[in-house]
C-alpha cells in the first residue's frame, strides 16, 4: 500500500501523489483523527463531516465555537476540531446564546437531536429563535432517542414502534409528531429555516449549500438560521441502513418534507 494515499494534508489536494494517483479528497483539518462512534449507516457521521467541511472551506475554524447536545452526538466535540462546549440535555441553544452574546463576532452553532431540541429543550429552542440569536441551530431529526436505546421521541411518527411505544405511537395517548421547524417559522427571529437530508449524494450537496448560507447569514447578523436534517437510526429503528433509507423516503419525508421552510424576504 502506498502510505501517501492516506495523506490528510489539505495542501496536497490536487497534487500527483505518484504516477498513478492524484489526491482528490481528504478529511478536512476541522475533523480530528478520533474515529466516529456512530453506528454503521447513521446520518450523524455524514452531518458531522459536511458541517466540518463547510467550516474548513469557509476558513472559519479559528472563529467557530460549537455546542454539543446530550444524545448520540454527545461526543461531537471529540470529532470536531474546533473549540466546543458540551451542554446539558435540551440546553444547547441557551449555552450557544451565552457564548454568542459574549463573543458576538465569532460563529456559533448548536447541534441537537429531536429529544434534546423538541422535547426537553422546547422552551430554549423557541426563545433562542424568538430572540433571533445570530447562531446556526442544527437539528438532527431521526424520530427516536438513539443514545438511550430507542425510545419514542417528540418527532416519532404515528404508529411508530419504539421501546416506549411498543404498540405504536398513538396520538390520543401521547400527541402527534411535532413539526418544530414549521412552528419556528412563525417567529420573526427565524431568518432562514430549511429541512434537508443526508441519505443520498444530492441531499448531502444541498445540506452543504444550506450550511454555507447559514454561516453567511450569521456573518451578516441576520438572525437565527435553523437547519433540520431528517436522518435515520438503524439501531433504534431496528433496520439495516438500506432499509432506513426506504423508511425515510416512504414514511419520514411525507411528514417532514424536504426543502426551505422560510427564506430571507427581499
Amino acid at each position: 500500500m502506498n502510505e501517501k494515499l492516506y495523506l490528510e494534508d489539505e495542501e496536497n489536494l490536487g497534487t500527483q501523489v505518484d504516477e498513478s494517483y492524484e489526491q482528490v479528497y481528504c478529511k478536512p483539518g476541522t475533523l480530528t483523527d478520533v474515529p466516529f462512534h456512530y453506528c454503521p449507516g447513521c446520518g450523524h457521521s455524514v452531518v458531522h463531516k459536511v458541517l466540518m467541511e463547510v467550516i474548513a472551506e469557509l476558513g472559519i475554524q479559528e472563529e467557530t465555537i460549537g455546542v454539543a447536545p446530550v444524545g448520540c452526538s454527545v461526543f461531537a466535540y471529540q470529532y470536531m476540531n474546533i473549540d466546543m462546549q458540551e451542554a446539558a440535555h435540551g440546553r444547547a441553544s441557551a449555552v450557544a446564546t451565552g457564548v454568542k452574546r459574549v463573543l458576538p463576532d465569532k460563529y456559533v452553532f448548536s447541534y441537537q437531536g429531536d429529544g434534546d431540541l423538541a422535547a426537553i429543550g422546547t422552551a430554549e429552542t423557541i426563545h433562542t429563535v424568538n430572540r433571533g440569536e445570530n447562531i446556526l441551530m442544527l437539528f438532527i431529526n431521526n424520530g427516536i432517542y438513539g443514545m438511550t436505546g430507542g425510545q419514542m421521541a417528540p418527532t416519532s411518527l404515528i404508529g411508530q414502534v419504539t421501546s416506549t411505544s411498543p404498540y405504536g405511537r398513538e396520538a390520543a395517548q401521547v400527541g402527534n409528531p411535532i413539526k418544530i421547524a414549521d412552528m419556528l417559522c412563525l417567529l420573526p427571529g427565524a431568518y432562514y429555516v430549511t429541512r434537508q437530508i443526508v441519505h443520498n449524494p444530492n441531499g448531502v450537496r444541498k445540506l452543504k449549500k444550506a450550511l454555507i448560507k447559514a454561516f453567511e447569514y450569521q456573518k451578516q447578523k441576520k438572525g437565527t438560521c435553523f437547519v433540520e436534517v431528517v436522518s435515520n437510526c438503524p439501531s433504534g429503528w431496528k433496520m439495516t441502513p438500506v432499509e432506513t433509507i426506504k423508511y425515510i423516503e416512504e414514511k419520514m419525508l411525507p411528514m417532514y418534507p424536504v426543502g426551505d421552510l422560510k427564506v430571507p424576504q427581499n
Partner: protein, 364 residues
C-alpha cells in the same frame, strides 16, 4: 484572602439588591443573565436600566434554567458572568450549577433566599443553607458560599466572589436573604475597574493554530477517568479550605457562644449586648464563608465555652455543621424560626437564659 476594595465617593443609601447590582457593574462583568423573581427582581431591573448606558451585557432569559445555561456558555467562553435569583429559581438552576461545577467554570450566583419549601413566601429565610453548602445539584461538588450580613457586604462580596471564582475555577454563591436584598443601608461602593480581568487559556474563544481545541465538558464516560476528575475536584476543595472567613464578636471572655450567619448574626449582635448588660458573658461567631466552614475555630472555642447556641431562620441546618465542628465537646443548642418569620434579640436571649439555667441546674 481578606482584601478590602479601594472605595471611592460618598457613602450612599442603597437597597441590598441594588448595591449588589451596582457592584457587579463596577466588577466589570461581561454578562448577566437572569429571570424575575421576588425578592431579587431589583437586580435585573437595576442592570437593565444601567448597563445600556455603561458597559457589559444584560439579558432577561425565558427561565432560570435558560439563565444558568447562558451563564455556562458565557463562562466557558471566558467571560466574567453572573446570575441571581431567589429560592425556587435557584432550585431550577441546580442542574446547570452541577454542570458548571463539574466543568470548573468561574461564575457568581446570588440567592436572595425566601421562605420555603415549595412556592413558599417572599419573606426572608435561611432555609437554603443545605442546598447552598452541601451541593444542591447532583454529584460530589461544592460551591464557595459567602454569606453577607449587610448591604455593604452585598456589594463587597461581588468582588470577593469573582476573585475566588476565578482563582479556583469554581462557581461562587452569595447566600443572602429577602431582608438583606430589600433593606436600605449605608454603603460605600468598591471602585470601578479595580478587579483585573484576563481571558483564561482554557476558554472556548476559537481554536488558534498554536493550540489544541478547547472543550468545556462534564462528561467523562470511562469510570477510571471520571474518578480522576472527581479526585481533582476534591483536591481543589481541600485547597479552598484556606479561604475560610469568619467574624468574632466579644469571644475573648465568652462563656456562651452564639453562632449565626447573615441576617441572624445581625440580630445576635443585639442579643450579645443585652446579655452582657445582664452580666452573662456571651460572644458571637459569624461564619462569613459557609463553604469552606470554620470548623477548626469552632472546635477551639468549644474548650472555652459552656455551650453554643446556633441561631438560624430555618429548622436547624447550619447547627449540624456546628455539632460536627465541636465533636460533642460542648452541648450545641438551636433556636430558629421558619417561613419568613424573624427572631427578635429578646427571643434569643430568653432561649439563651433558659439553656444557661438548665445547665447550671445540672451542674448543681
Amino acid at each position: 484572602m481578606e482584601k478590602k476594595e479601594k472605595r471611592t465617593g460618598e457613602a450612599k443609601l442603597m437597597k441590598g439588591n441594588e448595591a449588589f447590582a451596582e457592584a457587579a457593574i463596577r466588577a466589570d462583568i461581561d454578562a448577566y443573565f437572569g429571570y424575575p423573581i421576588t425578592p431579587q427582581s431589583e437586580v435585573l431591573e437595576y442592570l437593565e436600566r444601567e448597563i445600556p448606558n455603561r458597559h457589559g451585557l444584560v439579558l432577561q432569559a425565558e427561565s432560570e434554567v435558560a439563565s444558568i445555561n447562558m451563564v455556562y456558555g458565557a463562562a466557558g467562553a471566558g467571560a466574567r458572568v453572573m446570575t441571581s435569583s431567589s429560592s425556587p429559581g435557584i432550585s431550577l438552576m441546580q442542574e446547570g450549577i452541577s454542570y458548571i461545577a463539574a466543568a470548573q467554570l468561574p461564575c457568581l450566583i446570588a440567592n436572595v433566599v425566601r421562605g420555603g419549601p415549595g412556592l413558599g413566601t417572599i419573606q426572608p429565610s435561611q432555609g437554603d443553607y443545605f442546598q447552598a453548602t452541601k451541593g444542591g445539584g447532583h454529584g460530589d461538588y461544592h460551591l464557595i458560599v459567602l454569606a453577607p450580613s449587610s448591604v455593604q457586604e452585598m456589594a463587597d462580596f461581588v468582588f470577593d466572589g469573582f476573585r475566588l471564582a476565578e482563582k479556583y475555577r469554581n462557581p461562587v454563591m452569595i447566600l443572602s436573604d429577602g431582608a438583606l436584598g430589600q433593606m436600605m443601608e449605608k454603603v460605600i461602593l468598591p471602585e470601578e475597574g479595580s478587579l483585573p480581568k484576563t481571558t483564561p487559556a482554557w476558554a472556548t474563544t476559537g481554536k488558534t493554530k498554536n493550540r489544541e481545541h478547547n472543550v468545556i465538558t462534564s462528561l467523562f464516560i470511562q469510570p477510571e477517568e471520571m474518578e480522576q476528575v472527581n479526585l481533582r475536584l476534591q483536591e481543589k476543595y481541600k485547597a479552598i479550605q484556606s479561604e475560610v472567613r469568619y467574624e468574632e464578636i466579644q469571644t475573648d471572655d465568652a462563656e456562651i457562644l452564639l453562632v449565626a450567619f447573615g441576617l441572624s448574626s445581625r440580630i445576635c449582635q443585639k442579643t450579645v449586648d443585652l446579655a452582657r448588660e445582664k452580666g452573662i458573658k456571651v460572644g458571637l461567631l459569624r461564619p462569613i464563608t459557609l463553604y469552606p466552614y470554620p470548623y477548626a475555630r469552632l472546635n477551639e472555642l468549644s474548650s472555652q465555652v459552656e455551650f453554643m447556641l446556633t441561631v438560624e431562620m430555618n429548622a436547624g441546618q447550619m447547627v449540624e455543621d456546628v455539632r460536627l465542628a465541636v465533636e460533642g465537646k460542648v452541648p450545641v443548642h438551636f433556636i430558629g424560626r421558619m417561613g419568613g418569620m424573624i427572631l427578635s434579640p429578646e427571643d434569643i436571649l430568653h432561649k439563651l437564659e433558659s439553656v444557661h439555667e438548665s445547665h447550671n441546674a445540672v451542674n448543681v
